[in-house]
Symmetry: C2
Amino acid sequence: MASTDRQRRANTIAMLGQAYSLLGFKIVDGVVGAGYPQKPSHSAVFAQIKREGSRLTDLAKGANMTPQSMGELVAELVELGYVERRPDPTDGRAKLIVLTERGNACIDAGETTIRGLEDQLTEILGKRGHAQLRTLLTKLLAEG
Amino acid sequence: MASTDRQRRANTIAMLGQAYSLLGFKIVDGVVGAGYPQKPSHSAVFAQIKREGSRLTDLAKGANMTPQSMGELVAELVELGYVERRPDPTDGRAKLIVLTERGNACIDAGETTIRGLEDQLTEILGKRGHAQLRTLLTKLLAEG
DNA sequence: AAAAATAGTAAGGTACCCCTGATATTCAGG
DNA sequence: CCTGAATATCAGGGGTACCTTACTATTTTT
């Protein structure tokens, strides 16, 4: 991803990138550090999967990738013990990808990590500043 | 990079990532669209290289990678006609990586693209909001 | 002048992330 | 019940972005 800066004042986009890089890695580190090893791409599953379980195809669509690729991610998560494949009672072709207990615990660890980082943000920016940042980003993403 | 979300309210870090992803790709698209093909990783060079030229080792340090990896990036940029390797007159071991005319033009295109995107940000967030965002990010990066 | 450090190059490897193509099974409509 | 679409999976491939190890050429140190 280009920042293509070299200017004296960093551009806003480069700053966004640096901020994300800084904090994003801390999430993975936090979750992995809490005893839940995983690869960054796995979050594509964790971010979408429903409590009742999700179909592979739906996960793939949601993550904007092929079912084959998603299948590979799921296979890794099965290997790691975070999800299981179960036959879908409503469709013999389909399988439901469901979180195991450990999978749910992993998500909890992720949410805890994120909450901790949000708290750090509040410390750095102040309650007001943090809220402002969120408002601005929301606006930006709505229009972008 | 994990967002590990699934919450109703998106977390701030995920939003930072989305915003960066959105805008970062627009930079590359803009520069490439202006007739300067390149890969995202190349910005690691463009972002650092000095007008007088830079040494490979320095570029590598600045981008936090090995000289070998940086050497590869530089080789690609030489291929694309953006930089040249010249012997460093002050040290027979070293070479200076210097921008060609085309390389400078490419940087100019990048800066133009970024300026355009910054203007868009101002439109979306307002002059005040844009300034606030920059202030908040600056603070965040200083502490992080 | 010999030894040690530094600059760069060369060759090969790894992790990650995603793709295409082909196949088996099941479902849904005519 | 036949056929076309959908679901998942197997097999194989490829690109990006890095790394390690090993080497040569040059400079600096002793």
